[in-house]
């Protein structure tokens, strides 16, 4: 059964990276509780366009929770009030009729605002480029079962690999730390024999890049794990600490 709700939106507007931002208030009405949060944003933008106003800029791409492009800090939580979903997967039934919804961009020095709710997350790409890969000399395709991998390791590696690089961990962390992201990337490679070879160099290079880009440090509050749409565990952070310390102290 379809139900509709009316909402007041407080949205962060900022014309450009160097401009001063402010909150603007909008009203949207007759929003179906079956629609997604981004569809609600689309409706808002249609409304703004028909009023000859500038639409709100926000990031999105796949709209099915796999690309990590959508963001938004909604009512004090990254990806909004639901657990283990991205903003594009968030349903409007999670909101009450008449509610005021505050929508902010990810806040971090390492994620500067481009416009309105869009932040520049290329810092994550730079961290990956620093070592988040396996160097391969191309040749024939190896036999699928040539390297046996224990099931628990494969499971942990797969879990870590499910990180979509959305940056909610940075947004949730009071220190804007990227440790959950980096630990997921270091873990899923370090757990597999193919990635193990470069594990020490990778941990050092990626942490160094993370520090250089101005992310904060981890104080183990655990907020990232709770807010991560992919349920990445902070056990990965313990693994990253271990990998990094062993690499550094063994220099």
């Amino acid at each position: 059964m379809e139900k509709t709700i009316n909402l007041t939106l407080k949205v962060w507007r900022q014309n450009g990276p160097k401009e001063k931002g402010r909150f603007e208030t909008f009203k949207v009405s007759n929003i179906s509780t079956d629609s997604s949060f981004l569809e609600m944003m689309d409706i808002l933008n249609e409304q703004l366009i028909s009023e000859n106003k500038e639409p709100v800029a926000f990031d999105h791409d796949c709209r099915e929770g796999i690309c990590g492009m959508c963001s938004l800090y909604i009512n004090g939580r990254p990806h909004g009030p639901d657990d283990d979903v991205t903003t594009c997967q968030l349903h409007m039934r999670k909101f009450k009729d008449g509610e005021t919804v505050t929508i902010e961009p990810w806040r971090a020095a390492a994620f500067p605002i481009i416009k309105d709710l869009i932040v520049d997350r290329s810092a994550f790409d730079k961290i990956i480029a620093a070592g988040g890969y396996v160097s391969v000399n191309t040749g024939g395709v190896p036999d699928a079962n040539a390297i046996p991998i224990p099931k628990p390791d494969a499971d942990d590696a797969m879990d870590a690999a499910s990180c979509i690089g959305c940056g909610a961990c940075v947004a949730a962390c009071k220190n804007s730390s990227a440790m959950l992201f980096v630990s997921a990337k270091v873990s899923h490679l370090a757990l597999l024999p193919q990635g193990r070879v470069e594990a020490a160099r990778r941990a050092k290079a990626m942490v160094a890049k993370m520090d250089e880009l101005g992310f904060g440090g981890c104080t183990n509050t655990g907020a990232c794990e709770v807010e991560c749409p992919k349920n990445i565990s902070i056990a990965n952070i313990a693994r990253l600490n271990r990998e990094y310390l062993v690499a550094r102290l063994g220099e």
Binding site: K10, F23, Y73, N75, G76, R77, T102, E104, R107, A108, A109, A110, A172, K174, N175, S176, S177, M179, V207, A208, M210, D211, G214, F215, G216, G217, C218, T219, N220, T221, G222, A223, V226, E227, S233, I234, A235, I237, A238, R239, L240, N241, R242, E243, Y244, L245, V246, R248, E251
Partner: protein, 226 residues
Amino acid sequence: MSNFLTASIGRKFLMSITGLFLMMFILVHLCINLLLIFDDSGELFNLGANFMATNPAIKIMEPVLGLGFVVHIIWSLIISIQNMKARPVAYKVSQQTNSSSWASRNMLVLGALILVFLVMHIINFFWIIKFDPHSLSKVLIDGVEMEDTYTLVAGLFKASVVYDLMYVAGGLLLGFHLAHGFWSAFQTIGLSNKVWIKRLQFVATIYAILVAVGFSVIPLYFLIKF
């Protein structure tokens, strides 16, 4: 090794190692202190205090302990400043109560309050015992003459309700600080995983309760009994 101690994980490594060291000290300190309430004649506590004051191993550890405190405090400030810089613009609406514990978000505040307590505590006891021992009366236990530390400590707790409450507050602050600090220290040096994180958090809670209750019970004992 060059920039290890200023790298994010290196800084935390230092916090963790000094934290673990200070937690061991706190446990020893608590054990000796509890002698205060098991013998009203003060003999047990005086023996304990005298042992700590004269034992060469403890004498060596004293400056190390001081260094532990100093490093833990200075690095906490460096880390906090770096972490604040990482978020120059704050959120307008932020809901953190469901995703992290209050103590974990306020370690700096808790630490600062504990430092205030520590300064008071040093002025109350350590300073007098260390630098002004002549002001203490002497007792003879088993033919050995020693300073009557019991009268100094018990005397303060018997005489002042305000100090009693301050020391209870100190114990509670320490408990909250360590409820997060204990398991966090292991996580930071990598001695944790999916299974152990739960166990460590459980032990952290037990340890924190032990410290908070253990230290608070002493002034409360004197407050109620005398």
